[in-house]
Symmetry: C2
Amino acid sequence: MSVNNYDIIIIGSGPSGYNAAVRASQIGAKVALIEKSLVGGVCLNHGCIPTKFLWTVLKRKIEIKKAYEYALNVNISPINFKNIVKIKNKNIDNIRKGMIKVILSYNIDLIYATASLINKNTIMIVENDKRLTYELHAEKIIIATGTQPKPLTDLLIYDGSKIINSNDILNIDELPNNMLIIGGGPIGIEMATIFSGFGCNVTLLEYENYLLSKEDIEISESIKKNLMRQGVTVINNCYNKIDQEVSKKKYDKILVTVGRQPNNNLKLENIGIKINKLGFIEVDEFCQTNIKNIYAVGDITGKHLLAYTAQNDGIIAAINAVTGNCVTIDNSIIPLVVFSMPQSASVKISGFSQYKDVSLGKFPFTASVRAILDSERIGFVKCAVDKFSKKPLAFWIFGEHADEIINVASQILKSGIKHIQRETIFHPSLSETLLNAYEDAFSKCTELTKKINKIEVQQ
Amino acid sequence: MSVNNYDIIIIGSGPSGYNAAVRASQIGAKVALIEKSLVGGVCLNHGCIPTKFLWTVLKRKIEIKKAYEYALNVNISPINFKNIVKIKNKNIDNIRKGMIKVILSYNIDLIYATASLINKNTIMIVENDKRLTYELHAEKIIIATGTQPKPLTDLLIYDGSKIINSNDILNIDELPNNMLIIGGGPIGIEMATIFSGFGCNVTLLEYENYLLSKEDIEISESIKKNLMRQGVTVINNCYNKIDQEVSKKKYDKILVTVGRQPNNNLKLENIGIKINKLGFIEVDEFCQTNIKNIYAVGDITGKHLLAYTAQNDGIIAAINAVTGNCVTIDNSIIPLVVFSMPQSASVKISGFSQYKDVSLGKFPFTASVRAILDSERIGFVKCAVDKFSKKPLAFWIFGEHADEIINVASQILKSGIKHIQRETIFHPSLSETLLNAYEDAFSKCTELTKKINKIEVQQ
C-alpha cells in the first residue's frame, strides 16, 4: 500500500473533472485525476458526442437525399448501421486519446480506480485492473462523479438488452425494428430523431402535455410535428398508457429516458458532505461544499446537467481550490440546445419569466436569404424584447445550425446591450435571423411584409 | 409629364436603398424607390447571393464525396452546371419577389427608371420600359446607387464574352475549361474556389505577395494552400506576368476582379454634392452629404462595400431623414468573411493595429470535438488578447461555418467584455473554438497539450 500526497485530487474525468484537473495543473497544482471507467465521462462516452455524431450522419443522409435541390444527381445505398457505429466508436476513441494526451502533458496522475472518502483529506483508492488498494492524501478534493440514468420504476429494470437506458442505446450496433422511448425530454427527442431517421419505428411517450415541457410551446410543437413527419408516433400525457405500451410484443427495445440520478456512492457520509433530497451535492457560488476543502462540480451538483456548465464549474473550482476562493459561478445566461431535426435552442436573461412588459418578434426561415440558399425551409426564430427599452431578453430558435446561432444570441444577452448592432452580423448568414426576429418585436423588420396584428407573447 | 411629391426619394434598391425605403415607410414617410435595373442590387443579383448559392452547391458536392467518412455509400453523377445555374436563378428570382412584396406592402412607389438630380429636391426620372420622362420632388433624397466592377486597364476592356467581370461570370451557364482570374481579393478567391471546385482549370493572379493582402498572413496562406490543393494555380506578385497570361490561348474566360467603382452618374455636379477623388460620395456619421437634405448610403460612399454595413447605412439614413439626425453610424466592429473552402473570417476591435501589448492564441480544428464529428479537419481559430487585461481584441477563423461563428466573435468584441464566459457557449459547437483560442493566448486552453514556447503575435 503506497501513500501519495497531492495538492488536489479530482474524482471523475468528465467535462467538469477533466477541466478542473487541467486548469489546476496549469496554475501550478500537483493533481491526481481518478476515473473508474472511461476518460471523458457521460459527455464523451454516453452523451453529447456519440449522439451528435449519429445526428450528423443522419443530417448528411437527409442532405444527400435532397441533393437534387442543387441539381446534384446522387444515389445512396441503404445505411449500414454497424459501420456507422464503428466510425462513431473510432471518433470517440480518438477524442479520448486526445484528452488523455493533454492530461499526461500536464503531469497529472491519471488513476483508473474507484474512490471513496475516508476523511476530508484522504481518499481510498481501489484500482480497476490491478485491484490495488491504497490511500491518497490531498489538501483539496474536487468531486466530479456525475450522474447515471434514472430507472423508471422498480418494475421496469434495465436489463441492458430489451429495457435499456441512454448508455445502452449508444452501444447497440444493430438497428431495432420497433422501439418504445419513455420520456420526451432532450435525450428522448434526440434518440427518437436519430433512430427513426435511420429507419426504426419509434413510439415516443411523454408524461406532460408537451415534449420538452419546460421549453416554449411553439418550439415543442414544432419538434413534435417534425418527429411525426419523420414517422415517429408521439403520445403525450402517457401516464396511463405506459403499461399498455410496454406490454406490446412488437418492441425490440424499450428505452427509458426519464432523468438522471447522482453518482454519490463515495461514502460522503464519512465526512458529512451535505446532499439535497435527490442526492445531489450542495455547493455555493464558489463550487464549494459545506466541507471547506472539498468542491463539487458538474452534474453531481444537480444544477444544470450540461457539459458546458460542467466545464465551467471545473475551471472555477480549480482556480478557487488552488488560489483561494476568488471566482464565482455566474450562470445567468445559459443556452439550451436539443438536436431535434432541425435543431432547437433557446436562451434567456435570468428572471425572464418574471418580466411583464414583453413584446415578441418572430422570423421564419422561409424569409431568410441564407436559409433559402441552404435549402432549409423549416424553422423560425423568436425574440422577446422589453416593450419600452427594446432590450433583447430571450431568443428561441428552431432551425438548422441553431446550435451555433444560439451562441450569438447568448453573447448578445450576456452583453446587456440595448439593441442588436446590425453591422456586427455578417450577410448572408443564418445569424441574421436573430436580428430580424428582434426587429419584428417592434414591427421594424425590413424583411417581412407589413402586418396589422402583433402576435401574442408566450413566456 | 406628371409631378409627384414624396417625403423621401431613394435611388437604388440594393441592400442600403431597400432597407432605407422600408424603414422610412415603417416610420411614416411617403417613399419612392427608384431602380434602374433589378431590385436587390449587386448583393442579390451579382454578388453575395449567387456566389453563396454556388459555393453551397460545391460544399454539398464535397460533402457527398466524403460521405464514406460516415459509412454512407453514395454515387454522384458528374455535375450539370446549366441546371445548377437554373436553380440559382430561380432562387434569386424568388428572393427578389419576396423583396418586392415587402416593398409594396408598405405602399412604397417602386419605379423602374434612371434618375438624375435636377436640384436638391427634384429628380429627373426616365422610366425604363415606357420611356416616360418626368420630375419627382422630395423633401429628402437618399442616394444608394452602389458600385460596378472596375476595368483593369484601357487595354483590357470587358466584352462580356471572353474578358468578363464579376457580373458576367455569374450569368454564364457553361463551365469554362480554362479561366484566368486577375485579382486575389474576396471575389477572385470565391470565384476561383467555386469554378475550380466544379472542374474548371483556374489560374489566379494576385498583385501582392499574398492573397487577401489586408488579411492575416496565416489566413491568406491557408486559403492559398487549399486553393492549390483544389487544383488552382496561384501566382502572386503578378505585375509583370499579366500580359503574358492574358495572351495565352488556353483561357476561355478572363475574369477581372480588381475592385469596384462608384455609380455616380446622377448629375451630382448639378447641386454640388462632394465626392472624393475616387468618385465616392462623402458623408458624415449621419450618412448625410454636404447638401443637408441629401443622404448617401452603402457602396456609393466607398467605405466598406459590404451588404450588412450598407443595410445599416440604409436604416440609419432613413431614421435621420424622417426624424432629424438622431442616430449615427458606428462601424467599430465589422466582421469580414470570404467564402474560400473552408470559409475564412476575421473581426477586430477598432484601433487594433495600434495595440502594442498583444498575446496571440491559436486553436486547430483537429482539436475541436465538433469539427471531428463534422469531419472538418482543416481549420483554425486565432485570438488576440490584451496581454495584461486579457480582454479579447480580435479573432480570425479559417474553417467550416466561419460565417456563423464570426458573429459570435463580433458580439464578444462588441460587448467589450473582459473575458469569454464559458457557460454561454454550447458544447459541442464549433463556436467553442473561439473560447479555446482565447484561452490559448494566455496558455490556459484545457483542450491543448502543454507547450513551452508561445507563438508570436502578427498584427
